[in-house]
Amino acid sequence: MRGKEEERRVPVRITGLSKRYAADRKISSLSFAVYQQEIFCLLGSQGSGTGAVLKMLLDIVHPESGKIEIFGENIARNPRLKDRISYLSRDYQLPDGYSVEQLITMTGSFFSQVDLDWALDFLNAQGIKSDWKINRLSREKRQLVKLAQVLSNQSDLIILDRPTAGLELARQNQILLLLKELRDRGATVMFSSSQPFEARKIADRTGFFHQGSLLAVRGKEELAEFPGKIIFVPQFDIRDEHLTIPGITGWTRENDRFIIHYQANEDEIIKKLSSLPNLLLKLEQPDPGDYISGVK
């Protein structure tokens, strides 16, 4: 098995990684690999340790033990490797005092291959003008600027820590499709998420992460078999006819929240729910126990 793996180029290989990342939480003996030109999702709830794993890949957090190889090398010894990596940290905040274009140009100048025109065109398509000041942008627009900044670096490996955080549903889908497009162009994509539907939508393989442990890695087909769940808060009374969408297996109400269970047809369900008038579709983070128990 290992020999077969080695035949392929492996942009990320983690072996026996351990690290205490909070007072009572520890990543222990973590091992997995991400293959070239695949989309790998680390699926886990807040505090599960996915962010710490991604930081260790960039040597922002130091592992206590274990080995990390990026393109077969130790990134701590060769930081120039980062020129081939686009990384978005969830902790990263945009600095004020710049216009969008100034910021994209400034941050891009740290890397050797950056497509600034692509970044500005992408932002323009999202309704963000290049002369807008960063400090006037909403949280969602800031997230889009961060993504444009990171993805404009034409790198071989894209590592994103919760890339769709703070984005509305339509934009989340747009970003996910963009990642798919980048994968098709030859990049390897690794991202963390707490939303199972994101993994289902684009990931070739998904690692289920829970309290610092990788419980299992599942392929696209296997993942599609897990039941899905959407939680939303409607702004008006939901009636049965609103939810007669193929794929939905049932729904329950908990105070002001509706929980929709489905088995398939996720895109269509989200699209139809989004199109209902006066319905504020607010995806909430599902309880990780629901899908983790399915993996075990």
């Binding site: 990596i85 902790d91 600095p95 400034m106 941050t107 740290f110």
Partner: protein
Amino acid sequence: MNVSFLRKEFKANCWKIYLILAFLIISAVLLVLRFPRFPPLLEQQDLVRLGVENQEKLEIYEFALYLANHWINRLFYAGSILAVLLGVDALAREIEEGTLPFLLSTPQSRQRIFFGKTLINLSLLGLVIIISTLWLGGVVILQNYDIYFLRFLLLGFWFFIFAALPYSLGLLLSFFISDRVKAGIIAVAIFFLFNFLTPGSLAWISEYYLSAYFPAIEGSLPYLKIAVILAAAALMQLLSWRFFSKREF
């Protein structure tokens, strides 16, 4: 260190630089204009002969000495405050504002980021000293006074070496005190207190102007003092680097 890093640091620190530069520029004009404009009644040697050896009295007649003393005084206060502010903000600002994760994801090693920031910030400080001294020279020329301008530039250079101390102190304290404002105030307080407790620690810089050895430096400088200043700054830099290299963000 690349140009983008320099631009980034300048952009982040420009308000401090402009503020201190404005203070020094205004000070330069006021210092020159404030000097009593009357011809010396007596030559310097006559004053000495008459027993007037007090430096303050000599200053009344010797414009260059008056200017050197007062200029180094202004540089000391304004430059030290700027150095502390640059030191405190160098990494603490990036950590507090959440911009450090980006910097650490660029193809720069931590070592390069850390020492690059020190190099750039001290260069910005040096630039402030050079610009303000050039301005001082311009004002002096316009007022038809006579000074050894090169010596004033060298005054700035010695002060620049001295300023590595408050810069490093600010940087070091920013690792212990999470609030940048508090860290800055404490660093300024410690630095000025140290200087009050060691009177004359800066005197050698202004005395340099009067050095009989000029332009030969040999024999005219307190090498031990310079070595102590540089060693203390280097020690604080290394301690700060140790904290930065181990810290996780």
